[in-house]
């Protein structure tokens, strides 16, 4: 069997490095330096992390350790100081619609309606679709997040929770390969938060995409993730530990809470954060 057929069947080669085909995101020896008036501040150094296709990974770590920095580098919004980030073997060169982002604040254009906000991305990603087709795509995802009654409401008239729903719809509607979420539910009350977690998991499961989500909430991290990634405190933060969550999917909040392993997982994470 020649190397060429090998690469198409089980993986790709880029710059002579072999990537197993089930790796979606590959961060290697990642480094980030912010220049400050008092000299360079090394936020991340020697950070290695591989995230598989269709995996849901949550990231926890102390405030200021560099989680947002890492995520924005994956998104291509923040330049890399050293090391590599590859998406399906291809190095990241800038932002792109293959990596959808849901920001902590919904960041909707307040002067547009919910539908227009979602369409903004859809128009870009599906330039050959007809206008009705694009609208249908946008409406489908707004429907999925439970906003069928608010298509034509201006974003500024929506509540925080509704705005973040639009943010989720907008991110999924561009059909990304990877979804990057930076504390998307941090500003919401726990009831809305739970609802949106369910919606997120449901769409993620249906679309079969890879999700990387930063959170401060240990329970949220366990409930959503296949793996919880723990980052060490900065400066020079890296991956400290990784915890596999072996609960079956689909999960219900109740079954997770009642599972005998739940408290072991929880203790593991809290012990890490407290040291």
């Amino acid at each position: 069997m020649s190397t060429a057929t090998l690469s198409t069947e089980t993986g790709t080669t880029e710059n002579g490095i072999f990537y197993p085909s089930n790796v979606m995101l590959d961060l290697s020896k990642l480094k980030k330096v912010y220049p400050t008036p008092k000299g360079d501040y090394v936020v991340l150094e020697d950070l290695d992390l591989q995230i598989m296709k269709e995996e849901f990974v949550t990231i926890i770590g102390h405030s200021g350790c560099g989680k947002t920095t890492m995520l924005s580098m994956i998104a291509g919004l923040n330049p890399i100081s050293g090391g590599n980030i590859a998406v399906l073997g291809k190095p990241v060169k800038g932002p792109g619609p293959d990596r959808g982002v849901i920001f902590q604040s919904p960041s909707l254009m307040p002067w547009m309606t919910a539908l227009e906000n979602v369409l903004l991305g859809v128009n870009k990603v599906f330039p050959h679709a007809t206008k009705t087709q694009r609208k249908d795509i946008a409406k489908y995802y707004l429907h999925k997040v439970g906003l069928e009654g608010a298509f034509n409401k201006k974003a500024m008239e929506l509540s925080q929770g509704m705005q973040q729903r639009v943010g989720i719809a907008r991110a999924f509607a561009i059909k990304p390969k990877v979804l990057l979420l930076d504390e998307p539910f941090g500003m919401l009350d726990s009831l809305t938060r739970g609802e949106l977690q369910d919606i997120l998991i449901e769409i993620w499961n249906k679309e079969k995409i890879t999700a990387v989500m930063i959170t401060h909430d240990v329970d949220e991290a366990i409930f959503l993730a296949d793996r919880v990634v723990m980052m060490t405190s900065g400066p020079r933060a890296k991956i400290g530990d990784i915890l596999n969550i072996d609960f079956e999917r689909p999960r219900s909040r109740k079954s997770v809470l009642e599972h005998p392993d739940y408290y072991t997982y929880r203790k593991h994470l809290i012990d890490f954060l407290e040291h």
Binding site: G76, S107, M109, K124
Partner: protein
């Protein structure tokens, strides 16, 4: 719900109409009626107080000036002349009235005479048009210019000229400042390149702008003198007033929320989409703040510029009345002052209303 928001916004801009709107609305509840009466009562009271103080001040100045005139007559021409002067002033004869701050009633009379004058001139104009109708038709048929009325301008014509000039100037400012503001807002290097230019020319006084425009228009534009005056004054007004819009537009465009820019980057929007769908809408509130300042500056400098340019507007009217020194000149000047103030106020309110309509951020107080 949407309408409610619109209404709320309009109230911010035209809130002084609120009592009126409430009065006109069919459902008047007791509370709103009481507060309406209270509000308009207070306004009315303050107006009366103002007129009263003005009246007393004018009276005092009148007495001082009269005394001075009598004393002057006494010193220069003796007791007899002084007595004659006193009698003349007391009789109300217009030839020897002290020339000072006019009283409210004089100003009111002047306003009415200006309106009457306007009616006379309008009738005159209509008669002229009728008389010349046949002749003009013939002239036009021969391919010549029609004969137009060139008589004195009435007070309303003068106001209209001023408003026309200010809008032309405002439009010019808008057409220059908004595109340039957008361009320099988009590029930090252009911004620093243009910065000295803005800093140097922004504080230049209207008089200097007028002279500059005069030099250029004089050589380039050959129209008759009244056209010339109009062109010169509106260009000067525009150039003088455009800076606020330029600075605000550049600032609005350059300080678009980083989140929006990130969204545009993630969605990989093209430059055109980015500018027209994200950057411009988000900077509209600041652009309109700039335009509002521009309009009020334009109206303020207009008076001085019209005076210099000899354009038939309120500025020239005020100056000519002052030079004229006729008996009712002073009160006509005060009439013009009120007209200028009220129009300026209405223009500002109009812009505030527009500004509130485009402002998407309800918390953004201006």
């Amino acid at each position: 719900m949407e309408q409610e928001i619109v209404l709320k916004k309009q109230r911010q801009g035209l809130s002084f109409l609120k009592p009126l709107i409430m009065k006109l609305s069919p459902k008047i509840n007791k509370g709103s009626l009481v507060s309406f009466l209270k509000k308009s009562g207070i306004t009315l009271l303050s107006v009366l107080l103002f007129i009263g103080l003005w009246h007393m001040g004018a009276k005092a100045l009148y007495d001082v000036e009269a005394e001075y005139k009598i004393e002057k007559a006494l010193a220069e021409r003796g007791q007899e002349a002084a007595d004659a002067e006193r009698a003349c002033i007391a009789s109300g004869d217009s030839s020897c009235q002290p020339n000072t701050l006019p009283s409210p009633s004089q100003v009111w009379a002047s306003l009415q005479s200006l309106i009457a004058d306007h009616q006379v001139i309008t009738a005159d104009k209509a008669a002229f048009v009728e008389k010349m109708a046949a002749t003009n038709a013939k002239l036009i048929a021969q391919g010549k210019d029609a004969i137009v009325y060139t008589g004195r301008a009435s007070f309303l014509d003068i106001i209209f000229t001023s408003i026309k000039t200010v809008f032309a100037g405002f439009l010019l400012a808008l057409l220059i400042a908004v595109p340039i503001g957008i361009i320099i807002g988009l590029s930090p290097s252009l911004r620093s390149a243009f910065n000295w230019f803005i800093q140097v020319f922004k504080p230049v006084s209207p008089v200097v702008w007028y002279l500059l425009v005069f030099m250029i228009v004089k050589t380039l534009y050959i129209g008759d003198s009244s056209d010339n005056a109009f062109v010169i004054s509106f260009i000067s007004v525009g150039l003088c007033a455009m800076w606020a819009t330029l600075v605000n537009t550049a600032m609005g465009v350059s300080s678009v929320d980083k989140d929006y820019i990130n969204v545009a980057k993630v969605l990989k929007l093209g430059t055109f989409q980015k500018v027209f769908k994200v950057i411009l809408p988000s900077s509209l509130p600041l652009i309109f703040t700039g335009l509002r300042i521009t309009l009020s500056v334009a109206w303020m400098v207009l008076i001085a510029i019209e005076l210099l340019a000899q354009s038939q507007g309120l500025g020239l009217f005020v100056w000519e009345e002052f030079q004229n020194g006729a008996n009712d000149s002073n009160s006509k000047i005060i009439v013009a002052m009120f007209v200028i103030g009220i129009i300026g106020f209405l223009l500002d309110r109009f812009m505030l209303t527009v500004q509130n309509m485009v402002s998407f951020n309800k918390n953004e107080a201006v």
